[in-house]
């Protein structure tokens, strides 16, 4: 019984170590995108590995952040997702369940429906994947190329206060997806993200 506990502990520590390994690949453009397997607000499980060979956009979201909310209401992301239909778009919410911004799945689904969010939102309640990507703001955008590497890391556009008309903004993700479609690298490949801090 006692020895079984010891063995279980050892196996648990090994599992913890393996769980922390995605962090080793964190970060910059050109590096391999950290793998993840997360549950969506819709109850389904999504894994980055499921989309191997496809371009994937990852958007860190928090409906209670005014920036995330503004882009949802303005349909910045939804329209871009629609425009680039072949691209996989995943929202990731790394908000700590203890934080007042945290939304339960049913609330998140209702919010998504109300604002026309047409892509799955995944729950990263421990923040492990957010830290693995070094996600700092909501929104914080990543484009993962078909080769599995991070092709873009940064802001959605060049208008943090939202002063400009939508057509006047330089949408970095849109530009990056157009470049990716043409087999080119996004330019710029990295910008400073803006918005609320991720509520880890």
């Amino acid at each position: 019984m006692y020895s079984k506990t010891i063995r279980t502990t050892l196996l648990g520590l090994a599992a913890l170590s393996l769980a922390a390994l995605p962090a080793l690949a964190a970060g910059s453009v050109g590096e391999t995108a950290p793998a993840f397997k997360l549950k969506g607000a819709d109850g389904k499980t999504y894994s980055l590995a499921d989309f191997k060979g496809k371009t994937v956009v990852l958007e860190w979201v928090n409906p209670n952040c005014p920036f995330s909310d503004r882009h949802a209401r303005e349909k910045t992301m939804s329209e871009l997702h629609k425009q680039y239909g072949q691209v996989v778009w995943l929202g990731i919410n790394s908000t700590n369940p203890e934080h007042r911004d945290f939304l339960k799945p049913a609330e998140h689904l209702a919010y998504n429906q109300k604002n026309g969010v047409n892509y799955p939102v995944l729950y990263d309640e421990t923040g492990a994947i957010g830290h693995a990507y070094d996600a700092k703001t909501t929104p914080h955008m990543f484009i993962v190329g078909a080769d599995g590497k991070i092709a873009y890391n940064g802001a959605i556009d060049d208008d943090p206060p939202g002063r400009k008309a939508k057509v006047e903004r330089v949408n970095f993700v849109g530009g990056g997806l157009t470049a990716a479609k043409a087999g080119k690298s996004p330019d710029p490949s990295a910008t400073k993200p803006y918005g609320c801090s991720v509520k880890y």
Binding site: S3, A14, A26, G30, H131, S197
Partner: protein, 635 residues
């Protein structure tokens, strides 16, 4: 008798005197929301017709809320403002007083202001833009309306963006007339702006971005002719297109201060240019008893040759490199088993496992669990130390006298244990106490013993991990733990291998006593390290406390020592251990290198600069380096 007219006049005068707010025309209306108030101010009741016009954006913030510096940090954005009329004011520039650092959940950081802040605005009334009024209007006061369209974000943990249009009517005429309230207010905030190099001619600056080193690129700012204000001096970097900045570390040295900042390229696949424009502000520097900030923006030389391939690509952070780092972490961990103290414990524990009461497999699994679990604990402590501003990294622990003292106690205890004077971590030879918990304890005890040895192979993986974040630190320390636990993992998987070990016999106590000298030698190694960290008097005190610890252990091991006397001796052992730590901290020669709450740290340069040679080389000045390129003079 007082007429009603006189009463009315007196009342009107009193209302005029008691009217709230500053003189009209020098401020806009306050725009208020639950978190803040903001207004536009001018120092002039009557401004000159041309020349500089310093305006101000004055914020009053509710407790806990902050607005941003020009680099907002990991989140948020700085105030954005446009002024009209452009034909008179041109394009005014927002100026940035000394910022503060705000730590946010998840290890994120923001730079900005809380309480009250006035952002000075450098505007200029363009020559000829204000023509003298025609003669028929010269009897009326001349003015123009200044409009500021302002967007700002205010954050506590949550953030709220606001947008206001602020207006004020600025009178212009000759002679100019300053406002007695807003003038001094703006002067106060202008005085809080960082100085330029030209304003501090005796201060010299050299900077370099070392991207050719192991681990993340290091941005070094070296200031000569200034002194640190312990706990206050800090460095703030402006946003940069190519690099993200980590947490700065500050170190004083003879004649100046040096900052190191770990940098993270935003695009790992793109080579850094030979020169990179970087802006930074060093705050709370001291010179001739005066405190000041220094702001510099200049081209910084990038040293990258060693890390770049002929094709110009930076050293990769590819899966191949990660695999290599993990392999090094594992091998480095395994190599620690050959260091004297760990080897002494390993041999003793292996022989103990040979006759383990609970079975070889269970005992070995317990020891391995103890090692890996303790490595996670050490990772947690290292992360906490890193965040508190204490240098962290494999071997960096040897910079702290208290930690070195603790390691000296651990190795001394192991020596006394092997000599049969104390009962832990290994049970006495031939003792029936060979249950699983003893093996678990031996495993846990292995890790602090291993910390005493700065194996170079571990520096890159650990440095890399601290450049990445807490999860990576845990992963790397865990892999080191598995390497350190390798002999026990082998026995867990193949318990039959224990039969290769010699059966316990009369030789065992002799061997253990011999191993005790190996552990004792390690205590001297720690004392040698301490000799460069504490004063000679402090070292003598520490040695005396360790001698006392040994004496009490010897007395306690005598036959017939029981009951209250035995308890008193145990308390004596604890007191001697505490005395070692107390004297190590009390007699440290150099002040703590960073202030825990104010200045954040980075691991790699500290670890690489100080282990293993620098802290043990008494001939080397604290911060000796080759002269750096790109030296800029204040004059």
């Amino acid at each position: 008798m007082i007429s009603p007219k006189s009463v009315l006049l007196a009342a009107a005068f009193a209302v005029f005197l008691l009217a709230p707010g500053p003189a009209r025309g020098t401020t806009s209306e306050w725009r208020k929301n639950p978190q803040s108030s903001v207004r536009l101010i001018t120092p002039w009741v009557v401004a000159p017709r041309s020349g500089d016009l310093i305006l101000g954006l004055q914020f009053r913030l509710s407790p806990g809320w902050h607005v941003y510096w020009k680099n907002s940090g990991d989140a948020g954005f700085p105030p954005a403002v446009t002024f009209q009329p452009e034909r008179i004011l041109g394009k005014p520039e927002l100026l940035w007083p000394q910022p503060s650092r705000f730590d946010l959940p998840g290890g994120l950081v923001a730079f900005g202001y809380e309480g009250e802040v006035v952002y000075p605005v450098l505007a200029k009334i363009l020559p000829g833009s204000l023509l003298p009024p025609p003669p028929e209007k010269r009897d009326k006061p001349e003015s123009f309306r200044i409009t500021a369209d302002l967007d700002y974000l205010i954050c506590e943990v949550d953030c709220i963006p606001y947008r206001y249009t602020l207006t004020l009517d600025q009178r212009v005429d000759f002679p100019a007339l300053a406002d007695p309230e807003t003038g001094p207010l703006l002067d106060t905030w202008m005085a809080r702006l960082p100085r330029t190099l030209a304003e501090v001619p005796d201060v010299k600056v050299s900077t370099v971005l070392d991207a050719g080193r192991q681990g993340p690129p290091d941005f070094e700012v070296r200031l000569l002719g200034v002194a640190e204000q312990p706990g206050k001096t800090n460095l703030f970097l402006e946003s940069n297109e190519a690099l993200d900045a980590g947490r700065p570390q500050v170190r004083p040295f003879a004649g100046g201060v040096v900052f190191h900042v770990p940098m993270k390229p935003r695009d790992a696949g793109k080579p850094l240019p030979g020169n990179l424009e970087i802006g930074w502000t060093a705050t709370n520097l001291s010179k001739d008893g005066q405190s000041f900030d220094l702001s510099v923006r200049h081209d910084v030389q990038v040293v990258a040759a060693a890390a770049q391939t002929p094709g110009g690509k930076r050293a990769d952070a590819s899966p191949r490199r990660l695999a290599r780092l993990l392999l090094w972490a594992f091998l480095g961990g395994a190599l620690l088993n050959l260091t004297p103290t760990v080897l002494a414990l390993l041999v003793g524990e292996m022989l103990s496992l040979r006759g383990a009461a609970g079975g070889v497999r269970e005992g070995a699994a317990a020891a391995a669990t103890g090692i890996v679990g303790a490595c996670w604990g050490i990772a947690g402590l290292a992360i906490a130390a890193h965040r508190a501003g204490v240098p962290a990294g494999w071997g960096a622990q040897l910079q702290e006298p208290a930690v070195t003292g603790l390691l000296a106690i651990a190795s001394a205890l192991l020596a006394l244990n092997l000599w049969g004077l104390v009962e832990a971590p290994l049970p006495p030879a031939g003792s029936p106490k060979t249950g699983t918990s003893w093996h678990l304890l031996a495993g846990v005890f292995t890790v602090p013993l291993a910390l005493a040895w700065p194996v170079p192979m571990l520096q890159e993986p650990v440095g890399y991990a601290f450049g990445r974040g807490p999860a990576t630190v845990c992963a790397v320390y865990s892999i080191i733990g598995f390497g350190l636990a390798l002999p026990y993992l082998i026995l867990t998987l193949a318990p039959a291998a224990a039969r290769l070990l010699p059966a316990p016999g009369p030789w065992l106590p002799r061997l253990r006593e011999g191993l005790g000298f190996l552990a004792g030698a390690s205590t001297f190694w720690m004392l040698y390290a301490l000799s460069h960290q504490v004063s000679p008097e402090g070292l003598a005190g520490i040695e005396l406390a360790l001698l006392g610890l040994s004496l009490i252990a010897w007395l306690r091991a005598r036959e017939g020592v029981r009951g209250p006397l035995r308890l008193a001796l145990v308390l004596g052992l604890v007191a001697c251990g505490a005395a070692v730590l107390w004297m190590a901290e009390l007699n440290r020669m150099a002040p703590r290198q960073v202030a825990p709450s104010q200045v954040e740290t980075m691991s790699v340069p500290a670890a690489e600069a100080l282990i293993p040679t620098k802290i043990l080389d008494p001939g080397l000045p604290p911060d000796a380096r080759e002269p750096l390129p790109n030296q800029t003079s204040g004059g």
